[in-house]
Amino acid sequence: MNSHVLIIDDSPILRRSVRRALGQAGISDDRILEASNGAEGLEVVEANQISLVLLDLNMPVMNGEEFLIRLRGKYARDDVQVVVVTTESNAARLVRLSQLGISGFLHKPFELEDLRQLAGEVLGPAS
């Protein structure tokens, strides 16, 4: 399978840290793509086969919620799975995001082992 994992986060150092954790989870580096905001993320999704998006919410240009709304206008949850990686704690906003079709939340701060485990669960044993 040639599908990719897309990391959308405006923090370059966090993207590198997440990329490293995904590598440790067995996902080869050439299957990991990055974007620094939702608008860039949509372009990457259009141009590649993406199986999983790790999505930050709080970003400039286009935030994660807007990205998710636009993504779901074209792609069903089973086609492109999304895990929201966020500092957000507000219950109403988290419910709203859940209704947009996501596969999970990872609350910042998180341990890299949690990320590895979640990626494995979403992508399955053949990841």
């Binding site: 370059p12 966090l14 840290s17 704690s89 906003r93 910042k108 701060p109 341990e111």
Partner: protein
């Protein structure tokens, strides 16, 4: 308003989780030389404010090194700044969760990496903690 103990606890937990960094509180009167600065704004229904982070070079390098799994001497100054910005983002999220719980809708701004220390605000709660390599000062200003 959060007290010193809560802020120190939130910061220590965040640093342990994201960077495996063990920290200890230090005397708030002890001077430190900071070289990396970050700030994040937040706004809720009843209060708003800013969180300021001022880190020594050693501390910021240590956080970045642990995030990137490299040695501290391999860290570039830009990466140390990015690490402090991400710490501001994460700690800002923890602070608004502590202030507003899960019910109050707080808006968290984008973290800013600054080239000079943000001006101190009167009435700010200030705490300091240290790791093996340096110190971090945290100022929470609410109004």
């Amino acid at each position: 308003m959060l007290n010193d103990e809560t802020i120190l606890s939130l910061a220590a937990d965040a640093l342990m989780q994201i960077a495996f960094l063990i920290t200890e509180p230090v005397d708030g009167d002890s001077p430190q030389e900071s070289s990396h600065f970050a700030r994040i704004h937040f706004k809720g229904p009843d209060q708003q404010g800013e969180l300021h982070l001022l880190a020594s070079s050693g501390f910021a390098n240590e956080v970045a090194a642990n995030l990137l799994a490299v040695e501290p001497h391999e860290v570039q100054a830009e990466e140390a700044g990015q690490a402090l910005g991400e710490l501001a983002n994460i700690l800002g999220g923890e602070v608004v969760a502590a202030l507003g719980g899960v019910e109050q809708p707080f808006e968290l701004g984008l973290p800013e990496i600054l080239s000079s220390p943000p001006p101190p605000s009167s009435g700010a709660t200030m705490v300091r903690l240290e790791s093996e390599e340096g110190q971090l000062e945290i100022r929470l200003c609410t109004r």
